[in-house]
């Protein structure tokens, strides 16, 4: 039977959106402030489950800038959160928070305070710990580009290398299915609709056979927003050993913004698709510190990318930039 660690329970009580939340759950930064304050006092989040918590919260009000009333009310919504969580966990969903073993350590290392407080997931969580190649690109790519994404994903699958994708339409979807249909493994980091996608006809069997892990920092029925899409991009990059941009448009759209953010934060080495079929805009990323993805894959792709990295000149390594 599904159960949560006390620390995860606290994170869920404070931060989870359940679809009807009369009291606004804490934002990422609010939660960070609260947990930091507790940590300074030698407490872990689970202390908030003790009976006399209100006095502690009052004490911290000034520094955390969080109303003790609000936090207390959130902590008391245990029945509602348990009822809500029961529905989803009984359909196979799990929740991981910072303190859980399933929570990928790379997210802490690379994203630090920006590492999402909660990850909602379906499928095999061990795939999150295996690195992999992120394949990203726009929703509206040409058939040729989709084919490129699929081909690269196929190769990853043949070489038992995890593909990490955003799970959106277009390039994301082509990469995901390219890996899965070839018998490979894939992590989908979703910006919206986790529950609907996890129960979809096409993906259910892959989840069941442990080939796929779908995660999202947003609650299982949240809708799409541009902000959410950007918020989840960092998880894609942070999980991956390398990232490949199939296609982007300079200065426009989520792919561009995500790639730029990655270069600035140096979460993971970035490659871009070049060659006749690739859009010219891809070349702009080269100027910003990305590398050209090899036009021919020879032997293990991971090794090939690694040696490209090592042979790279110091000058080619991306520096924080302003565009």
């Amino acid at each position: 039977m599904y159960a949560l660690q006390p620390n995860t329970q606290v994170a869920t009580l404070l931060c989870a959106h359940t679809g009807n939340d009369p009291i606004q759950p804490l934002s990422q930064s609010e939660y960070v402030r609260l947990v930091d304050w507790l940590q300074d006092r030698g407490y872990s989040p689970e202390v908030l489950l003790s009976p006399d918590v209100y006095l502690l919260l009052l004490e911290g009000e000034e520094q955390t800038k969080l109303s003790a009333e609000r936090v207390k009310a959130l902590l008391e919504r245990g029945t509602q959160v348990a009822l809500w969580m029961e529905k989803w966990s009984n359909a196979g969903m799990w929740i991981a928070s910072w303190e859980d073993a399933e929570y990928p350590a790379v997210l802490h290392e690379k994203l630090r305070k920006q590492a999402p407080v909660l990850l909602y997931g379906f499928g095999n969580p061990s795939l999150l710990q295996q690195g992999g190649l992120a394949i990203v690109g726009s929703r509206h790519a040409s058939e040729n580009l989709l084919e490129s994404a699929r081909r690269v994903a196929n190769r990853c699958a043949q070489q038992s290398w995890v593909v990490i994708s955003g799970g959106a339409k277009g390039v994301d979807r082509a990469a995901m299915l390219g890996a899965l249909e070839e018998g490979g493994t894939c992590v989908g980091v979703l910006a919206a609709d986790l529950a609907r996608i996890a129960t979809s006809y096409t993906l259910r069997d892959y989840l069941l056979s442990d080939k796929l892990c779908l995660i999202s920092p947003y609650h299982p029925q949240s809708g799409f927003t541009a902000g959410n899409a950007m918020g989840r991009n960092k998880i894609i990059y942070a999980l991956a050993e390398f990232a490949l941009v199939i296609a982007c448009e300079t200065g426009k759209g989520g792919t561009w913004a995500g790639a730029k953010e990655n270069l600035q934060n140096r979460w993971t080495p970035l490659f871009v698709m070049v060659g006749e079929e690739a859009p010219e805009d891809n070349l702009v990323l080269l100027g910003l510190g990305a590398r050209a993805f090899p036009t021919r894959i020879e032997g293990p792709l991971r090794g090939q990318l690694l040696s490209l990295m090592q042979s790279a000149q110091a000058g080619q390594i991306a520096l924080p930039i302003e565009v």
């Binding site: 039977m1 599904y2 159960a3 949560l4 006390p6 329970q9 606290v10 009580l13 679809g19 009807n20 939340d21 009369p22 009291i23 489950l49 003790s50 009976p51 918590v53 009310a73 902590l75 008391e76 919504r77 245990g78 029945t79 509602q80 959160v81 348990a82 009822l83 969580m85 029961e86 529905k87 966990s89 009984n90 359909a91 196979g92 379906f122 499928g123 529950a195 609907r196 996890a198 129960t199 979809s200 006809y201 993906l203 259910r204 989840l207 069941l208």
Partner: protein, 700 residues
């Protein structure tokens, strides 16, 4: 802490209207654990001990602690709190409300009060809690403010419980996810060690367990073995008057409740049948009569049970032996709560095991239903609503609901409701065969324990308490075994037994004609129609007896299994039944259901019956294909499917006239339905099914 105690005591005294009242052993300890320490508490205390006092006062104190905000949620299979409980709550200043499927018209009012935070305690049924509509409309609004969860009849959580309910599995999962800052109170009156251990695991290691003595000093127990129903009917007629006050006579099946009540009525007793087939208002009226001693007894199935509280119930007699000690103890525990003495008699009979065996066999829904629904969902990319499932799968709405409820209760569940649609969840699923075997074995062991109890040569109360792992078990000194003499005479007189046999022999059972095919497709006879058209339907028929009963039932059983021949007594009995009944239009000929396995048994009987009735016997129905025995078929669909194309009617010149269609034992009734349709198709104007016995084994 003193102020908390003082406040609790004031509430208790206000509630009981007794200024000097004090808490019973354990009540305050439980309240304190819940309110002061937000702990989880399991109370195993007999009914009437005052568990509701604990949760009323704890609910009130938690709310007062919280600035008069928030409420306690009570999950209980009872439809409502008992009137006396509500009155007590009112005196404590506690506002309790109920939401269940039968009071939808009150939901709006309750909702308004919930939203304005005026309710201290909300009672919901486990079924409501699992209902998505209720969750969205009501529960979601108040769930963030629930200060305490109370789980009534908590033994239902346990797989090892006698009364396991699928919706309680969900409650167990919610408890596992519930953070420890929400206090939980689980209560039950009947739990043996294994059940207590199971509940403890669900509630967590920290749970505070309180277990009181179960014995009820007022009960005087006696067991009487009277194999035939006629003897037991005669016993009731002879001794009902000597039993104190008003009471309950429990039977295992609805048909038995009806019969026993009818027999006692013919003997001049003021008794009524009570079972789940009766409308709610009727049931309430009957309960009211019993409560006010306006009847001698209700003859009831388990439907008269949880939540019925009559402190002065004078006796409980079991016409048949229940399936487990826990069931039995719960039922007899309703007697003598406020009395010095109450008489408890267990009558055991020859049919007990057959009935219990049947309940055990049919406890789980057919796997075919589950597989049909899962496979339909697997083939539907966008999921299916209930109506869409109905179209895809040949199952009734009820059957579909039952399967979906069962599947939703699985951990994890293979189905997920999203909006109005059901989709498959990405979790591995297969029917838990091991669990079904385990539970079936448990039911067998419980049955065996009751068999031993029937024969017990040690104190009867001691036996029951030990079976329930009561640490306070001791000999009662007042049961028939302790006394060494009967409390009520076990004697029956020959004359009354003969009358009972006559009564049973005149208690034929109507055979209601089927109106719907179980399926539209796959059967040639129904031609894509769900409804059986008037022109193909049978008339209402009759069965001479209930299978195995003490009237004709014994002779039918012997004829079928021992002699391979139905005696002339049965022919006479059937002919007499036909004369009493004289259906219109009067049948002009007799035919019968053919069998390849026993080619002579039924035709031979039907021929002799026809002779007796002075009608021609025309065996015009032929079996053209061997079928599997109908009783092996799992559901209506398979039962009819099994019969599809198995029979052929050979027309003869008199076929248009009304006819008696004879069979020996009727189970589902589909054989008679299908053959009647074939006869009607071949031109018969009216078909009256008549059978020797009907299998009726329905509890509830």
């Amino acid at each position: 802490m003193n102020t908390l105690y003082a406040r609790a005591l004031a509430l208790l005294r206000a509630g009981l209207q007794t200024p000097s009242a004090n808490f019973r052993d354990g009540q305050w300890e439980a309240i304190e654990a819940l309110v002061a320490h937000k702990r989880r508490v399991l109370l195993v205390q007999r009914t009437g001990w005052g568990k509701s006092i604990v949760y009323f006062i704890a609910a009130r104190l938690l709310r007062e602690q919280n600035g008069n905000k928030g409420l306690a949620l009570l999950i209980s299979p009872l439809l409502s709190l008992m009137r006396n409980q509500i009155e007590m709550a009112g005196r404590m200043g506690i506002h309790a409300e109920t939401i269940h499927s039968a009071n939808i018209e009150q939901w709006d009012a309750v909702e308004t009060q919930l939203l304005s935070d005026r309710i201290d305690l909300l009672l919901v049924s486990p079924e409501r809690l699992a209902n998505a509509d209720f969750y969205g409309r009501v529960l979601q609004q108040v769930a963030p403010r629930i200060l305490m969860l109370i789980v009534d009849e908590a033994h239902c959580i346990s797989d090892w419980g006698h009364d396991f309910r699928p919706d309680y599995r969900r409650i167990a999962r919610v408890l596992r996810l519930l953070p420890r800052n929400i206090p939980v109170l689980a209560t039950t009156a009947t739990a043996n060690n294994r059940v207590v251990e199971d509940i403890r695991q669900q509630l967590g290691e920290e749970v505070h367990i309180q277990r009181g003595p179960l014995a009820r000093r007022s009960l005087r127990l006696q067991n009487i073995l009277l194999p035939s129903q006629a003897e037991r009917l005669a016993w009731l007629a002879a001794h009902l008057d000597t039993l104190p006050g008003s009471g309950i006579i429990y039977t295992l099946t609805v048909a038995d409740a009806e019969r026993v009540a009818r027999w006692l009525q013919t003997k001049g007793f003021d008794v009524h049948p009570y079972h789940a087939d009766l409308e709610n208002p009727v049931r309430e009226a009957l309960e009211h009569k019993l409560l006010h001693n306006q009847v001698k007894a209700l003859v009831a199935t388990v439907a008269l049970g949880m939540g019925f509280d009559k402190p002065d119930l004078g006796f409980v007699v079991h016409f048949q032996r229940p399936g487990s000690v826990v069931h039995y103890y719960q039922q007899i525990g309703r007697a003598g709560r406020s009395l010095e003495n109450a008489v408890i008699v267990l009558l055991g009979g020859e049919e007990d095991d057959e009935v219990i065996d049947y309940f055990i066999r049919t406890a789980f829904p057919p796997q075919a239903h589950t597989e049909a629904i899962l496979s339909a969902l697997r083939q539907s990319p966008d999921g299916l609503s209930i109506v869409e499932i109905e179209r895809k799968v040949n199952l009734s709405r009820q059957q579909i609901d039952k399967v979906l409820r069962l599947l939703s209760s699985e951990t994890p569940s293979p189905v997920l409701q999203m909006g109005s649609k059901y989709v498959l969840a990405p979790v591995p699923y297969s029917t838990d065969v091991e669990r079904i075997h385990r539970l079936t074995a448990l039911r067998r062991a419980e049955q065996e324990q009751m068999q031993q109890y029937m024969q017990s040569s040690e104190c009867l109360m001691l036996f029951l308490q030990r079976a329930l792992d009561d640490p306070h078990a001791e000999p009662c000194g007042k049961c028939a075994v302790c006394l060494g003499s009967p409390i009520v005479s076990p004697m029956v007189d020959e004359q009354t037994v003969r009358e009972a046999v006559q009564f049973l022999r005149r208690s034929e059972i109507p055979l209601e004609p089927r109106r719907m095919w179980p399926t539209r497709e796959g059967l040639s006879i129904c031609r894509g129609q769900g409804k059986i058209p008037e022109s193909l339907r049978a008339e209402e028929g009759r069965a001479l007896c209930l299978w195995g009963d003490a009237g004709w039932g014994v002779l039918v059983k012997r004829g079928k299994y021992a002699d391979g021949f139905y005696s002339d007594d049965l022919v006479d009995g059937m002919a007499e039944m036909v004369r009493r009944w004289s259906p219109e239009p009067a049948p002009q000929w007799v035919t019968c259901v053919p069998s390849l396995r026993h080619p002579h048994l039924v035709p031979d009987f039907a021929q002799r019956l026809a002779q007796k009735l002075g009608l021609p016997f025309v065996p015009c129905i032929h079996k053209v294909r061997e079928t599997r025995p109908q009783k092996e078929m799992q559901n209506s669909f398979h039962q009819v499917y099994n019969l599809d194309g198995a029979f052929e009617v050979r027309p003869w010149e008199g076929i248009t006239k009304p006819v008696f269609l004879v069979d020996d034992v009727v189970d589902s009734g589909w054989t008679l339905t299908v053959i009647a349709a074939l006869l009607r198709q071949a031109g018969s104007s009216a078909v009256f099914p008549i059978a020797l016995a009907k299998q009726v084994l329905r509890g509830g």
